[in-house]
């Protein structure tokens, strides 16, 4: 099995990033404009990278399939962003944030990356505050914090329930400033369809203008993918409708290894599905778990309204099973616990598919005004969706797919296995191991974009000074354009009877059933054959109306769903290969007697990075993980 080298620096962990920065080659300020860098995606990672690279003086081309760079799904993050500022004087430190993140990731992440992330968390808060991000404040005018999902210190900074929105708008505004200054060319409504690799290096991308259908090429010295995660492989997830794996997957097709695809995070506090027309699930910030108590009726099948169930007949199962962490256990633990209750016939609501999240005690303790101030917007959202008033009755929640820890394999410099091709944010695999802690995604996206890639890219580019990249009319680009165009034509020509959405929904059902919260070998094998059968049907019976020369949303989706098929298969293969339970990956065969995840550090303390294979068995490469500072223990939240 081939081993991967992450090019992690040696030496004490706290010095590694400084040492690496010092060892990197620099590009003279006057020479930066000789380099063209392509950035795909304008979420937190992409917008912050494009803005920062533009500020440095590189010529940046930024791409988004949205109509504006302000719409990426980062905008929907509610709860907050972690930083080891220790403003609360409660014992936080860079080391503690590092330790919590490695432990929270169930010892499947790379120590050096996580330590750097914790270090950079300090700079992120400074940066965003200077941009005018309106973080919550105390009356003295200083920044406020709260504790958040799984943390025993208050290190989460937030802007009401709209932290992602405010951070993204900060990055978007910085990006638009560079657009105005002419350092960044922004291409909206433009989707990346291929990465062009020539002489073993990333040479540019092929795009489709979603408004006109025009397929074009863009050449650059380096390509940065910041294109988010792949939760929508499950069809129903909390991701935005357009979120997809296409950019990462097409890079994978061109040779970039895809790491740990089976690590998906199920978020415990989402609004349960209401009917078969449900198009997506809505997350409610798990900050609600700080003050909310989760319970189900103690008796299976109890159909009484919540206020008719006396205290003694309620089961606050998280507090009961995990006295130390209670309602604040990490996401994977909370999610599986909810599934267990619902599977045990204790589910609540019309479809019996949820558990209660109750803020009545908090309202008594803190007063309704405080609860309203902290969670008012979440309550409003809940009421809009369900038609129920959460000030009167407890909310109903159920887990939903929310985030994917897997992604393109990257080294310490965030470079994929294709030289010159970088992956940032949720699109890479690097920092969260098998499970991401709350308020860490925003941190990682911004660390990658503001503070890592602007340095590491220079090291790659410096030796290329004077080299002209292959122009966009080179045959290598023409071939890639032709391939993209022929795929588009193929979707339009199948002429079957089923819509793209139908196939997406069916694929999602297979994945949720067999590769969701719990997995087992038999189910995964079944899923692999079901996926293959459905894919055959897709190829034969898809119907995409319209043409390729104008806005055609069905056509856009067809390509994305086709890529989800390939990814779904790889996720199942990866889940099958990983014969252990860790973080978001729970194999029924590998659990302790009381039903907790059983990790196998002897055999599986590695990153599984998969090569591309169209049909056959893809090759697995491995990166062994070493834990020198955060020694693996069985996670216990009791």
């Amino acid at each position: 099995m081939p081993l991967l080298d992450a090019k992690t620096p040696d030496g004490p962990i706290e010095d590694r990033w400084d040492d690496r920065k010092f060892s990197m080659k620099l590009v003279n300020p006057a020479n930066k404009r000789r380099f063209t860098v392509i950035v795909v995606g304008t979420g937190l990672a992409g917008a912050s990278a494009a803005a920062s690279l533009g500020e440095l003086g590189y010529r940046v081309k930024a791409f988004t399939y949205h109509d504006s760079a302000r719409r990426a799904h980062s905008i929907a993050a509610q709860g907050g962003i972690n930083a080891a500022k220790n403003y609360r004087n409660d014992g936080d430190s860079v080391f503690r944030l590092f330790y919590d993140t490695v432990k929270g990731g169930d010892y499947r992440s790379r120590e050096s990356n996580v330590y750097r992330l914790a270090q950079l968390s300090l700079n992120i808060i400074d940066q965003c505050t200077a941009q005018g991000v309106p973080f919550a404040r105390e009356y003295g005018g200083l920044l406020a914090n709260r504790s958040f999902g799984g943390a025993q210190v208050s290190r989460t900074f937030y802007a009401r329930g709209q932290t992602g929105q405010q951070l993204l708008l900060g990055a978007y505004q910085a990006l638009m400033r560079q657009v105005h200054l002419g350092t960044v060319d922004l291409y909206c409504h433009t989707e990346m369809l291929d990465v062009v690799v020539e002489d073993g290096r990333a040479a540019g991308i092929v795009t489709r203008d979603l408004t006109t259908g025009e397929i074009a090429s863009h050449a650059g010295h380096a390509v940065v993918l910041a294109t988010g995660g792949y939760s929508n492989v499950f069809y129903l997830s909390t991701n935005a409708m357009k979120s997809n794996v296409t950019a990462a997957w097409r890079a994978h097709r061109r040779g970039a290894l895809f790491a740990n695809p089976c690590y998906t995070q199920i978020h415990p506090t989402c609004i349960p599905a209401s009917d078969e027309f449900q198009s997506k699930l809505t997350l409610m910030s798990e900050s609600l778990r700080n003050d909310g108590r989760i319970w189900v009726p103690a008796r299976p099948g109890d159909g009484r309204a919540p206020d008719e169930i006396p205290e003694g007949e309620r089961d606050y199962y998280l507090e009961r099973r995990y006295p130390a962490f209670g309602n604040l256990v990490p996401r994977d633990v909370a999610s599986r616990a909810a599934k267990r209750e619902v599977d045990g016939m204790k589910g609540v609501g019309p479809l019996r598919n949820g558990v209660y999240l109750d803020l009545a005690d908090a309202a008594d303790r803190l007063g309704e005004d405080t609860v309203r101030e902290r969670y008012g917007n979440l309550f409003d959202m809940y009421e809009r969706i369900t038609g129920e008033n959460p000030y009167r009755a407890p909310m109903r929640i159920y887990p939903a797919v929310h985030y994917t820890m897997g992604g393109l394999w990257v080294d310490y410099d965030l470079m994929t296995t294709i030289p010159g091709l970088y992956a940032l944010g949720e699109a890479n695999f690097s920092d969260h191991g098998a499970n991401r802690l709350g308020a860490s995604a925003l941190m990682q996206g911004l660390a990658d974009g503001y503070f890592i890639v602007p340095y590491t890219l220079g090291d790659y580019l410096a030796p290329q000074l004077g080299e002209t990249p292959r122009p966009a009319d080179d045959p290598v680009f023409r071939d890639a354009e032709e391939r993209a165009a022929s795929e588009t034509r193929r979707y339009l020509s199948i002429g079957g009877t089923r819509s793209v959405d139908w196939f997406h929904r069916e694929l999602g059902k297979i994945m949720w059933e067999h590769c969701g919260m719990e997995r087992n070998a038999g189910g995964l094998r079944e899923a692999i054959s079901d996926i293959a059968a459905l894919k055959q049907e897709f190829d034969a019976d898809l119907r995409v109306p319209g043409d390729a020369d104008s806005l055609n949303q069905s056509l856009e989706k067809a390509g994305r769903v086709e890529d989800f098929f390939g990814l779904a298969r790889l996720m199942c293969l990866d889940a099958l290969r990983r014969e252990e339970s860790c973080g978001g990956h729970f194999r029924i065969e590998h659990q302790t007697e009381d039903g907790e995840a059983r990790r196998d550090d002897e055999r599986f303390a590695f990153v599984a990075a998969w090569g591309w294979a169209d049909d056959g068995a893809p090759a697995m490469h491995r990166e062994d993980l070493h834990f020198e500072y955060a020694r693996p223990t069985q996670r216990s939240y009791k």
Partner: protein, 247 residues
């Protein structure tokens, strides 16, 4: 419930458009408005017809992608609610619902219900930022911001850029959108150095694309995020001061 939809269909910016009528049977009150359109589209695809194009993404009322005129009202009948968060329980069996795109000269139709809102990006580009290049920031708590100021800035910063304010305005003015960003940044201590330059550039860019404000207040009513009309007054005051100072 059973509903009749009259939906604006238009192939491209230069094509002539018109209403088409669709029937939707067995609609559940728990469906969102966009899920209703999904169902209609599924039906259209099955019949081999082209589905209705509409912008949408997060379906949580935060990305600002969606926006429809529903029975002549931007984002439909429910206050403080974006189209994606509007649920069918707001309607009754037998209703006929008229669905149109945002109508404003600054927003040409791309197709059906999708319009081009790039002038909003131009306004932000003109000055809707605080210049703080990456790496140059001081320690965050060196800049205390009174809680009240911060809260008011956040109220304004909650704008999602959906453009309902423009669609609702009889003059197609973009004052509420522009003011929300001006006020967010001009209130904060970090935003002071560029305060006068920012408001002048943003307002003048806005005026290149959009109509004038005559204080109808329709924008505030249509806003899914309750951005207050007061912001426009603050922006106008700052703009006037800027014109004197910047002279």
């Amino acid at each position: 419930m059973d509903l009749t939809l009259r939906v604006w269909r238009q192939r491209g910016p230069l094509d002539e458009g018109g209403f088409e009528t669709y029937q939707a049977a067995g609609v559940s009150g728990d469906m969102s408005f966009l899920e209703l359109l999904d169902v209609v589209n599924e039906q259209l695809v099955t019949e081999g017809r082209e589905p209705i194009a509409f912008d949408h993404d997060c379906r949580e009322g935060i990305c600002g992608s969606c926006g429809l005129m529903i029975d002549g009202r931007a984002h439909g009948p429910r206050a403080s609610t974006a189209t994606c968060q509007l649920h069918m329980r707001e309607f009754s069996d037998g209703d006929t619902i008229v669905v149109e795109p945002w109508r404003a000269a600054a927003f040409p139709i791309i197709r059906d219900l999708v319009v081009d809102r790039t002038p909003f990006d131009r306004i932000i580009e003109a000055g809707g930022y605080i210049s703080a290049p990456t790496g140059s920031a001081p320690e965050a708590n060196l800049i205390p911001v009174p809680k009240g100021t911060s809260d008011t800035a956040m109220d304004a910063a909650a704008c999602i850029g959906c453009a309902a304010c423009v669609a609702a305005c009889p003059n197609s003015a973009a004052h509420l959108f522009t003011a929300a960003k001006v006020v967010h940044l001009n209130l904060l201590p970090q935003g002071q150095p560029e305060r006068w330059r920012r408001v002048e550039r943003m307002v003048e860019t806005m005026e290149e694309y959009f109509g004038s404000c005559t204080s109808h207040g329709e924008c505030e009513k249509a806003c899914p995020k309750d951005i207050s009309l007061d912001n426009i007054a603050v922006m106008n005051r700052d703009y006037l001061q800027a014109k004197i100072r910047n002279r």
